[in-house]
């Protein structure tokens, strides 16, 4: 109950020091703004990077045939290891941790024709798991390659969104017939636009995908250009890789420890490393923001000490009228918390406006792609609010103790 009257008192006193208090509030607001913006940029960077990495695929490992570097079972080194569709089935059967697997065949410089438009691009031949493994998601109204397409070697094609624009403009692509090297293919889907940072052979948006069986039937291919598998639980990846070397080593008769026999592009590990780096960056940014806020709070503490000094006589009079030390202390702590609260809310609102405005600006393809999408999140809010609370309390507590120690007799003599 008593807190409320003290609060009324505190409010009255605050009104008399408007200018000084507003200056201090600005300092806290600025510090809050810094910390929120820095953390939001870090969060945005993390999210965008995550999206960009998914542009290549989710938890995938890309396998290429290599060259043996060790003599094994009487066979010389320097043998080429080449992968086939059989290996796809083999690995799928023998390694339960694999959640998706497909081989991929490439063909470059293929001629695409639609009505009067012609262009040259590449085609790859894959299996249905490619859709979710390599994030080849179809736009509404279309679909990716399915098992029946594969079984019947249908002449169906899934177009990259960029390729579709260049070949067919704004036309509705699904159901249309295009010619690839003179052979008619039906378009079954167009890829959803995505951000892609890593790639091989060019962005996915620029290529066409057909069933691998169809490609083999048309061109008589024997060896895969690469094999892609997905590991559902990322931490299983090293184990799976070992098993892959064991199983393929047994089939092709190379030493399972011969790391050159197969070339492994592990995007999972890549993602982990990037993730760790990002955590480091976020911590760093957060630290800078916190330091800025700390400096602002030093300003608050400074002002409060000055305030105590100036109001010494007032404190003495209040003590003479019956105020206890804790009343005096509470008043100053309240003042500091008030400053921290208002400053924090102000800084928070301005930074939210900035973040929202920036989020709305399209970022294109350049470096802004990663840096231009600051994202606010609940943890950021909680972190900032806690820091502000601590700052307010600390900045107020020590001056408040000093105020409470004022000796009324001395202060009433104080001119």
């Amino acid at each position: 109950m008593k807190q409320w009257f003290l609060f009324q008192l505190f409010f009255r006193e605050m009104k008399s020091q408007k200018k000084r208090i507003w200056l201090t509030i600005s300092g806290i607001a600025w510090g809050t703004l810094s910390i929120i913006l820095l953390l939001s940029f870090g969060e945005g960077l993390k999210l965008q990077l995550g999206k960009a990495n998914k542009g290549l695929g989710e938890n995938i490992v890309i396998l290429f045939g290599g060259q043996t570097s060790k003599v094994y079972q009487g066979l010389p080194k320097g043998r080429n290891i080449r992968l086939t569709d059989e290996d796809v089935d083999l690995l799928q059967q023998k390694i339960p941790q694999i959640t998706g697997i497909s081989g991929e065949y490439d063909m470059y410089g293929e001629t695409f024709t639609y009505n009067e438009n012609t262009l040259t691009e590449r085609v790859t031949g894959v299996l249905p798991p490619f859709e979710y493994m390599r994030t080849h998601y179809p736009q509404a109204g279309g679909r990716f390659i399915n098992p029946i397409d594969v079984e019947q070697r249908r002449r169906v094609v899934f177009l990259g969104n960029s390729l579709k624009e260049r070949l067919m403009g704004d036309a509705d692509a699904v159901g249309e017939i295009i010619q690839i090297n003179g052979t008619p293919f039906t378009v079954i889907g167009v890829m959803q636009e995505k951000m892609q940072m890593s790639m091989y052979g060019g962005p996915d948006a620029d290529k066409a995908t057909i069933p691998s069986t169809t490609m083999k039937a048309l061109g008589g291919r024997q060896y895969l250009n690469r094999l892609i598998y997905q590991v559902g639980q990322a931490e299983m990846a090293p184990l799976v890789e070992k098993r892959v070397f064991e199983i393929l080593g047994r089939k092709y008769r190379f030493d399972p420890n011969d790391s050159k026999a197969l070339f492994v592009w592990d995007t999972i590990e890549q993602t982990q490393i990037a993730g760790n780096m990002l955590i480091g960056i976020q911590l760093f940014l957060g630290l800078i923001g916190a330091l800025t806020l700390l400096i602002a709070s030093v300003g608050v503490a400074n002002i409060m000490y000055v305030s105590v000094k100036e109001r010494t006589r007032e404190i003495g009079v209040k003590r003479a009228l019956g105020a206890k030390r804790k009343h005096i202390k509470q008043q100053f702590v309240m003042e500091a918390l008030f400053i921290a609260l208002i400053g924090g809310v102000l800084g928070g609102i301005v930074s939210l406006i900035i973040v929202t405005v920036l989020q709305g600006i399209p970022v294109g393809d350049g470096p802004l792609q990663l840096l231009g999408k600051p994202t606010f999140s609940v943890p950021i809010f909680l972190a900032t609010a806690s820091i502000l609370g601590i700052v307010g309390l600390a900045a107020g507590y020590f001056p408040a103790r000093r105020a409470a120690k004022v000796d009324p007799v001395e202060s009433l003599r104080y001119e």
Partner: protein, 224 residues
């Protein structure tokens, strides 16, 4: 009301020791109007602070309104100041950012009295000192005499047992000074116990007992 025995106050500043009071025996009955006089440095203010429980004696015993004060804690002393003592200072010591009403209200806030209960008391006291029409004025908008009247109302708001006034007319012109002294007279006639530090040579016209201090000791006490 007040019973002091062998009160001593020594200030220890590390290098030197100052004996402000060197053994005061003082008894004040309820309803008396006591003037404390003496040259600078005689210990008047120190004695006043001790009577008002703003300070504790280095030695001696002090009973105020039946309570032994010399052994009380800081918080207990604060409560006594709040309930039993009313202070009036030479330089008024009002909060400059608050209105007359809010200034008088202050001791009630520290006593924990809710707003509704405060209003009645504050307004009637301000009326009693003749400032009913100036309740919303800040000290900057009041004359010296009016400010002191606000201070007197403030000192009365918790119905104290004693009123302590430290040269209340020191910062006022003679006309305002007279007004203030008549106000004190009224309060005395209404039964309040008043202890006043003063240099006024005519003080004997107003009070009923003078205590002369010199070098930390009482010289004599005159009765009227």
């Amino acid at each position: 009301m007040i019973d002091m025995e062998g009160i001593t106050r020594v200030y220890d500043t590390g290098k030197i020791q100052v004996e402000a009071l060197r053994g005061i025996d003082l008894t004040i009955q309820e309803g008396e109007f006591i003037a404390i006089m003496g040259p600078s440095g005689s210990g008047k203010s120190t004695l006043m602070h001790l009577i008002g429980c703003l300070d504790t004696p280095t030695a001696g015993r002090y009973t105020l309104d039946g309570e032994k004060v010399e052994t009380l804690t800081d918080n207990q002393l604060a409560e006594i100041r709040n309930r039993k003592v009313g202070f009036v200072f030479q330089s008024f010591n009002l909060m400059p950012y608050a209105t007359a009403y809010e200034n008088v209200e202050l001791p009630l806030i520290f006593a924990g009295i809710p707003g509704a209960g405060r209003k009645q008391r504050v307004t009637s006291l301000l009326a009693r000192v003749g400032l009913a029409d100036r309740m919303d004025h800040k000290p900057g908008e009041l004359s010296g005499g009016q400010q002191q009247r606000v201070a007197i109302a403030r000192s009365l708001v918790n119905q104290p047992r004693i009123i302590l006034a430290d040269e209340p007319t020191g910062n006022l012109d003679s006309a305002s000074g007279e007004e203030i002294m008549s106000l004190f007279m009224e309060l005395w006639q209404q039964g309040n116990t008043i202890i006043m530090i003063t240099h006024d040579p005519n003080i004997s016209d107003w009070c009923n007992k003078i205590v002369h201090l010199k070098d930390g000791l009482i010289e004599n006490g005159e009765m009227h």
